[in-house]
Amino acid sequence: MKRGKWYLALAAVLLVSLGAMAQQVTIAVVWSGNELDVFKKVIDAFEQESGITVNIDEVGRDLPTVLPVRVAAGNPPDVAALPNPGQMKTFALQDALVPLDDLSNLADSAPAFVDLGKVTVNDEEHVYGIFLGADMKSLVWYDPQNFEAKGYEVPTSWPGLMALSQQMVANGDTPWTIGLESGAASGWPGTDWIEDIMLRTAGPDVYDQWVDHEISWTSPAVKTAFQYFGQIALNPEMVYGGPTGELTTNFGDAPNALFTKPPEAYMLKQATFIQSFIRDQNPGVEPLTDYNVFLFPPIQPQWGNPVLGAGDLVGVFNDTPEAKALANYLASAEAQAIWCGELGKIAVNTKVDPSIYPDPITAKAADIVQSADVFRFDASDLMPAAVGSGTFWSGILDYINGIPLDTVLENIEQSAVAAYAQQ
């Protein structure tokens, strides 16, 4: 009798686990800390609604390295937060990604972002990535109270911005705080500077050519963009801590310089997502009163004020109903209300109620992004990994560390020639 019961119990366990396995999906993510906590809330909501169990694989900042290895080994996660559209394109061309054109929530997504998730494979264009949320990058953060105390005014042009910086230096203040450190990804904030400057000095068409490597890294347009950045970043009086400070300050710690008493710096150029870092590390600060943003100003008047942005891209590797259900949920207004609402990101699903934005700053940024004439995606995310996640980042670090600009650009160009040939 005992023996019989034992076998029954075993069979029951097997059936239950088989059943559980059937309704499971794994998702590999790059997020950690605050962002991961919010993502878990999104997943909890999905699990409750659908009854599917989700296993979150917290890979961390090494995801761009780990994911290709798993794909090559034939063991990819069901779903993954793709590091950038460049890598999405590589995976799509390898036939590793599942087309997502049939997801119902795509119909509600902002067209610009749906297009960014498309790749042409074998002459057929399909959507391979969906955006969970977007960031706007062309912003400068400042403390309005500090500005008022010293009589500084928000600039509306590049000469105005430089004049303001000069004014601050003359007063004995340090205008800028820049943080380039980010572990294996160090250097990426500098690439945002270069991209915004490129859009404003060379225009969106040259920007696109730069992304596709139709112009060389040593061309005057690129060199000029770096030189504009150098005017600020290489000048020890302009940046808190000077070049060494920039190289050793983590991007998430850089905003803290704005809130010390007395302030160590007055301006930080950074994307919308930095808000969650600001609020996390400086408890009690309020948007609009303690911190606000102004648009990174135009440089060449004819290019106006283009918007540079990026987003959190998700792709599906294994064609299972659970994986697609998860992807569809992440594209829904419900998921994005949680993700964007708590992190101050911009929702890609147009049905998201603007009131979910935690603050007027994000709402303002969302409005700008969704109605921009000229919107461009972060270039380093679109380029092949060897450049966009490699030599471009280390090029920024080398430039700030004193290596001559021509050498830096030649290095990047050499790696670009090899990298683009792989596509």
Binding site: P68, D398, T407, A418, Q422
Partner: protein, 289 residues
């Protein structure tokens, strides 16, 4: 009688099979892949090797590995030797040796993370959270970007971490060899009027030399492959790149299998002379026995 001839093969067989599977086959495959392009679809001959040797950034990489080989080996072996000889004469020898050996118990990644904090830099007006910069500022100086300033400050800072980790290893081996030298030899030298330095130079060192040679070659072979310390502390930025880290980046981040394999083969070729020396010495020792 027949079983006698097969038996050695039966004993060594499984080990040989594993060696073939995990060492020989991958080595041959790597050498093959190094002659192909980034995803191993087109044969490109020596193109990867030419890139590896002529790209301007590669000069820095080889320079850094050379600095590691010379400085790391010099310091670990000589410090290990000095410590072995000096500690031999004191009563607290065991405790001191334990302290010096303890860093070997930490993983390289753990040690690198610890030292990253020791080397941390904050702008001069802010309080220094890095131990080293806190000392420097307390003594009246300006904080230094230990991991940023290239090419000497940051490379030497990284090597210091390696030396901290591995001196204990050298010291322990050399100490064991030292204790094997009959005390009468050194006493005889002292009776003959030699001072301590002469005893060391003329008696101790020559007798220790075989062990010193083994330790040195072991350290050189080890340091040519250095990866963890560089990867965790600077990821090869600021002119600290080394061959193993670059190979890792090319293989996994940039997916350029051909170039990564070429770098691996270059590393193998650099290590081969050391291995030949080791094997020769081993053979000579076997002959003496």
């Amino acid at each position: 009688m027949r079983t006698r001839r097969i038996t050695p093969w039966l004993f060594a067989g499984p080990a040989l099979f594993l060696l073939a599977l995990f060492l020989v086959y991958p080595s041959i495959e790597t050498i093959r892949v190094s002659f192909y392009n980034w995803n191993s679809t087109t044969y490109v001959g020596f193109q990867n090797y030419i890139s590896a040797f002529t790209e301007p950034s590669m000069v820095n990489v080889f320079r850094n590995n050379a600095i590691w080989v010379f400085v790391f080996t010099l310091f670990t072996v000589s410090l290990g030797l000095i410590l072995a000889v000096l500690l031999d004469r004191v009563r607290y020898e065991k405790i001191a040796k334990s302290f010096i050996f303890i860093p070997m118990a930490i993983s390289m990644v753990g040690a690198s993370t610890i030292w990253k904090f020791v080397y941390a830099y904050k702008p001069p007006s802010a309080p220094q959270i890095g131990l080293l910069n806190a000392f420097v500022v307390a003594l009246g100086g300006q904080p230094v970007g230990w991991l940023i300033e290239s090419p000497w400050v940051n490379n030497l800072s990284l090597i210091a971490v390696g030396v901290w980790l591995w001196t204990g290893f050298c010291m322990v081996l050399l100490s064991a060899a030292l204790k094997n030298i009959p005390k009468q030899l050194m006493e005889a030298a002292r009776i003959d009027g030699a001072n301590e330095w002469q005893v060391f130079r003329k008696v101790t060192l020559p007798l220790l030399w075989p062990t010193v040679a083994v330790v040195m070659t072991t350290m050189v072979v080890f340091v040519l492959k250095i990866f963890d310390i560089v990867y965790v502390m600077t990821n090869g930025n600021y002119g600290t790149e080394v061959i193993a880290n670059l190979m890792y980046k090319q293989q996994f981040t940039f997916q350029n299998y051909g170039l990564a394999a070429a770098l691996a083969v270059v590393l193998l070729l650099l290590v081969v002379p050391m291995m030949v020396l080791n094997i020769r010495r081993f053979r000579r020792q076997e002959e003496i026995r």
